[in-house]
Subunit: 107 residues, 2 copies
């Protein structure tokens, strides 16, 4: 199926400056995340595996004990139960994440 | 973990004009697909569930009995064992797909 954005998505604001839109299949969830400039995705972890790609902006992301400044096109893996988060700088950041199984807290 | 592109990815050319780079976790695989102008992703199906986003270009994509002209930012779901494919026009197309479980034929 084809999705219309944002009307086909469920919307969340999990933290200040942090807007999430999700859609799910049976095994996968896509999470389209917009982070305002100078905001933070607080460190957290979850059982669901996560992989993602940077769509816009620059994001200083931490996964486990590694931090990297991500730019458009950069991709990453967050293994199950691995602490991760990040901060934005002067630009808005847009990220697309996939979760498997669909992230329970976002259903 | 953070990936360096393309060196951390396994590369495939599944059809003419069709270049795929994949990385996998335990439950997820990301597939970064580049399609040359005026080329075709032939109709096919697989058991693995697939969700994706258009990163660049325009792609006339068919999923089951529906066809839509996708543009940058558009997202879709290909349920398990659902026929899908598409054609490109004058521009190169770049797509990011997620598969769960990791697509057996691409491992």
């Amino acid at each position: 199926m084809f999705y219309d954005f944002p009307q086909d998505f469920k919307q969340f604001k999990p933290a200040p400056g942090f807007l999430v839109h999700v859609v799910s299949g049976q095994r996968l969830m896509l999470s389209h995340v917009t982070l305002q400039p100078n905001s933070e995705a607080p460190l957290h972890s979850h059982a669901e595996e996560q992989m993602g790609i940077m769509l816009e902006g620059e994001f200083a992301m931490t996964i486990g004990d590694e931090t990297r400044l991500l730019k458009k096109g950069d991709m990453y893996l967050v293994p199950s139960n691995t602490v991760h988060g990040g901060i934005t700088h002067a630009e808005e950041v847009v990220v697309l994440d996939a979760f498997s199984p669909p992230r329970e807290a976002y259903k």
